[in-house]
C-alpha cells in the first residue's frame, strides 16, 4: 500500500499544472487530481483486470508524464524541481494554514476510524465478517493520502513523499510493541526528521526534501542498531 501513496504523489504534478492553468490554485488542483486518481485506482483494482503493481506502474507514470507535459506546453513559469524535490522557500503563510487544516483533518479521520483501519490492514475478510466494508476504508485511506500528499508536496517534493510514508513507520516498527505505539513513534521520527532536515538544508543550502529523507534514513539505521544492542544484553 506504500506504493499506492507514491502513485498518488506522482499524479500530484498534474494537479499542480492544472491548478495553475485553470487559476484554481495549486492546493485545490492537487487535491482534486489526487482524489480522482485514487478513486480511479481503487475502482480499477476492484475490477481485478490487472495486477496492482502493473496498475500503479502504468497510472502513476502516466499521471506524472501528463503533468510535466501540461506544465511545459503552457510555458507556465514554475520551477518543476521545487515540486519534485521540495523547496521550503515556496511555502507561504497561507499555505501554512492549509497545512494545519490538512493535518487536523488527517489526524481526526485516522483517530475516528483507527480500529477499522487496523482490522482491514490485518485481513479484509475478517473485517468484512465484522461488518466493515473495506471499500470505504480504502476510500478513506485514499482521502487521507491525498491530503498528506497535498500538504507535504512543497516541503518534501513528490518524488520523495513515499520515503516519508515508509521510513518513519519502518523505523518505529523496530521499537514499538503495538500499532498505537508504532503510529506515535513514527510521528515523532517524522517530526525530528523534518526539523533536523530543514536545519541541514539551511546550513548547506541543500533542497529540503532530500535533506529530510537523509535524516530519517539515518534514524532508521540507528533504530536497527539500537534494537540490536538491546537484544545483545
Amino acid at each position: 500500500m506504500s506504493y499506492y501513496g507514491e502513485s498518488i504523489a506522482h499524479s500530484s504534478l498534474l494537479g499542480v499544472g492544472l491548478g495553475i492553468l485553470l487559476g484554481t490554485g495549486i492546493n485545490f488542483g492537487v487535491i482534486i487530481v489526487c482524489l480522482l486518481f485514487g478513486i480511479l485506482f481503487l475502482w480499477l483494482q476492484q475490477s481485478k483486470i490487472l495486477s496492482t503493481d502493473t496498475l500503479l506502474g502504468v497510472l502513476a507514470h502516466l499521471a506524472l508524464s501528463i503533468g510535466i507535459i501540461v506544465i511545459s506546453l503552457n510555458r507556465i513559469k514554475i520551477d518543476i524541481e521545487a515540486f519534485l524535490f521540495g523547496d521550503i522557500l515556496t511555502v507561504s503563510s497561507s499555505d501554512l494554514w492549509i497545512m494545519y487544516l490538512g493535518v487536523g483533518i488527517t489526524i481526526l479521520l485516522i483517530l475516528i476510524n483507527w480500529s477499522s483501519l487496523l482490522l482491514v490492514t490485518i485481513d479484509e475478510d475478517l473485517a468484512r465478517a465484522e461488518g466493515i466494508n473495506p471499500i470505504y476504508i480504502n476510500l478513506l485511506l485514499t482521502i487521507v493520502l491525498t491530503i498528506v500528499v497535498a500538504v507535504s508536496l512543497q516541503i518534501i517534493g513528490l518524488l520523495l513523499i513515499t520515503a516519508m510514508l515508509i521510513i518513519p513507520a519502518a523505523t518505529s516498527r523496530r521499537l514499538a510493541n503495538s500499532p498505537g505505539q508504532m503510529a506515535l513513534i513514527a510521528t515523532l521520527v517524522g517530526v525530528i526528521s523534518v526539523i533536523s532536515g530543514i536545519f541541514l538544508s539551511v546550513e548547506f543550502d541543500a533542497p529540503s526534501g532530500p535533506s529530510i529523507v537523509v535524516i530519517s534514513a539515518i534514524l532508521f539505521f540507528l533504530s536497527y542498531s539500537f534494537k540490536f544492542l538491546i537484544n545483545k544484553d
Binding site: 487496523l118 490485518i122 475478510d125 465478517a129 465484522e130 516498527r173 510493541n177 503495538s178 500499532p179
Partner: protein, 248 residues
C-alpha cells in the same frame, strides 16, 4: 422446510463469473446446533459459498436469508499481514470488539492461549496462530461459527488437537458450526452432516451415509470412503461396512 428457524438459509444460489458457474443452485440450511462440514476439491467454490452465506459477496442469482441479529464468528484460513505491524495477541483479539474481562478470560481459557496472550503475533507458531484466530471469532459469543479450512497449515498432531478443541467448543457452547475442511477423516467424529460441494451440492448427509453415495465415491474414490469407515468404526460398531470393502 421451516425457513424461519434456520440461522442461514440459501435458495437457488448461483454465482457466475466470466460466464462460468462458481456455484450453481445451492440450497443450504444451517439450523441451531448444526455441525456441517463442507468438503470438495480445490476450485469447488467452498470459500465462495462461505462468502455468500456471510454476505461478503452478492450471488448472481438466488436468495440468502440470515436470521435477524445473527452473530457470526468467522475464522479465516490464515492472516498474512502481521510483520508490517507490531501487535500482541491480546491486542489482535480485541481490536474493534466490545468485550468484558469475563468473556475475554473465558475465551482465553477455552482455547488455551493464556501463556501467549502478551506475545507478538509475529512470533507465534502455526498452531498458536490458529487458536488465536479461533479466540477472536469466539469473543462476541457467536450463534454460528464459520471456519474456513482452519487446520490447513498444521501438522497431523496439530490438526488432531485443533479439531478436538472445536469439538469441545461445540459441545460446551450453544453454537452451530459450519466448517470447510479437507481433513474429513479427522472431523468424522464431531461433524453431524457432510456436504459435498463441486460447484453444486453433489451429495449431503450424515458422514456414514455419505461414504456410500456414488457421487462421493466418484469424487474422492474408495480410499477416502474406506478411511472414513475405519474412523467411524471405532464409534459405531453396529454399522455394517460390507458395502465398502471387498469390492473389486
Amino acid at each position: 422446510m421451516k425457513i424461519t428457524n434456520a440461522l442461514i438459509s440459501s435458495k437457488n444460489v448461483s454465482v457466475l463469473k466470466h460466464q462460468k458457474f462458481i456455484l450453481e443452485n445451492i440450497d443450504i440450511q444451517i439450523n441451531k446446533n448444526d455441525f456441517i462440514t463442507i468438503i470438495g476439491p480445490n476450485g469447488a467454490g467452498k470459500t465462495m459459498l462461505l462468502k455468500c452465506l456471510m454476505g461478503f459477496y452478492k450471488p448472481t442469482s438466488g436468495s440468502i436469508e440470515r436470521k435477524e441479529q445473527l452473530k457470526i464468528g468467522y475464522m479465516p484460513q490464515s492472516i498474512n499481514v502481521i510483520n508490517t505491524m507490531p501487535m500482541t495477541v491480546k491486542g489482535f483479539i480485541t481490536v474493534r470488539k466490545k468485550y468484558d474481562d469475563i468473556s475475554l478470560n473465558k475465551v482465553i481459557t477455552e482455547v488455551n492461549i493464556r501463556e501467549i496472550v502478551d506475545k507478538q503475533l509475529s512470533v507465534l507458531s502455526g498452531g498458536e496462530m490458529q487458536r488465536v484466530l479461533l479466540a477472536r471469532s469466539l469473543l462476541n459469543n457467536p450463534d454460528l461459527l464459520i471456519l474456513d479450512e482452519p487446520a490447513q497449515n498444521l501438522d497431523i498432531s496439530g490438526q488432531l488437537n485443533f479439531y478436538k478443541l472445536i469439538q469441545e467448543i461445540y459441545s460446551k457452547r450453544d453454537i452451530s458450526i459450519l466448517m470447510v475442511s479437507h481433513d474429513l477423516h479427522l472431523v468424522m467424529v464431531s461433524t453431524k452432516k457432510v456436504l459435498c460441494l463441486y460447484k453444486h451440492i453433489c451429495c449431503s448427509g450424515a458422514p456414514q451415509q455419505i461414504a456410500k453415495d456414488p457421487e462421493f465415491l466418484a469424487m474422492f474414490g474408495k480410499d477416502m470412503a474406506n478411511m472414513m469407515s475405519i474412523y467411524q468404526h471405532s464409534h459405531d460398531h453396529s454399522h455394517d461396512h460390507s458395502y465398502l470393502v471387498g469390492e473389486e
